[in-house]
Amino acid sequence: MKRVLSGRSVDRVVTVATVGLAAAVVLADAGVPHIDIVEPFLTNQVLIHFNTDANRAYTVQRCTSFVPSSNGVTAVWSNIVHVPAQPFNDHFVAVDTNKTLPVRFYRLMVTPQ
């Protein structure tokens, strides 16, 4: 798990890479943004499971490529799903329906920290 601080609007980011879609069943500690499971679903779809804390909004992003840049390599991220803040803890299961990508990377952004 990689934890990155990135800008003011996005305080905590967790990145999970999926190569071959190996799944691990590990529930997160409370308060730490964490993708619990990444698993294949139906035909070439992917499920991303994560817990959500009260009063925090979550966005799941997907990266399909890394491009060379002056800083070395830059990843291009796109939003899959946004989960608005709720007044209680919960669990969310997001679906990535992009069926054409053999390798995908996912990250979970949390606002506020």
Partner: protein, 183 residues
């Protein structure tokens, strides 16, 4: 007289034995998801569960009419109706009681062992939460990632347990009354 005493003791013992298994039901519907917002939820379901010691047996059940395909199903807690909580136990993969991939289906029976410390909750507190209706079953779908149908798990009094206990108590009472009359 001794025979009656033995019979009463046996009936009460049998009642206590039956009472060590508690029955539960979870009636899943969209109304219990209302506090999560978002229109368009459809479907319903029902699951029966039995608790013996720390083993929660998923007896049978079914769900149908969902607007999206099932992605996951869990037992969440602790939370009262109208509030949510984190996942405690999986009912879908890898547990396998509820299969992902359909809008309706049967719930496969099997045993789920409650583990001390799950969700940071002691086993004693888990049992207390379960029997006091603070756990719920949630079925997540492709259209509702936070859950499309939900059912609070509620304790069902066993009619046979109550009947056996009543019979045992009745025999004991009758025996006492006759003894008093004889005196």
């Amino acid at each position: 007289m001794k025979l009656r005493l033995i019979l009463s003791a046996l009936f009460i013992a049998a009642g206590v034995q039956v009472a060590s298994t508690q029955g539960f039901v979870s009636n899943l519907d969209t109304a219990q998801e209302a506090h999560n917002g978002g229109a368009g939820r459809t479907g319903s379901g029902q699951v029966y569960l039995y608790l013996t010691g720390s083993t929660l047996s998923i007896s049978n059940g079914a769900y149908s009419g969902l607007s999206g395909t099932v992605t996951a199903a869990h037992i969440h807690g602790p939370a009262a109706p109208g509030a949510n909580a984190s996942v405690l136990y999986f009912l879908s993969s890898p547990a396998g009681f509820i299969a992902a991939g359909g809008t309706s289906g049967a719930i496969t029976g099997g045993n789920l062992t409650l583990v001390d410390g799950t969700g940071g909750i002691s086993l004693a507190n888990q049992l207390s939460q379960l029997t006091s209706g603070q756990w719920y079953i949630n079925i997540h779908t492709t259209t509702f990632g936070s859950g499309e149908i939900r059912g609070q798990i509620t304790l069902v009094p066993e009619p046979t347990t109550a009947a056996v206990l009543l019979l045992g108590a009745g025999c004991a009472g009758l025996m006492l009354r006759r003894r008093q009359q004889a005196n």
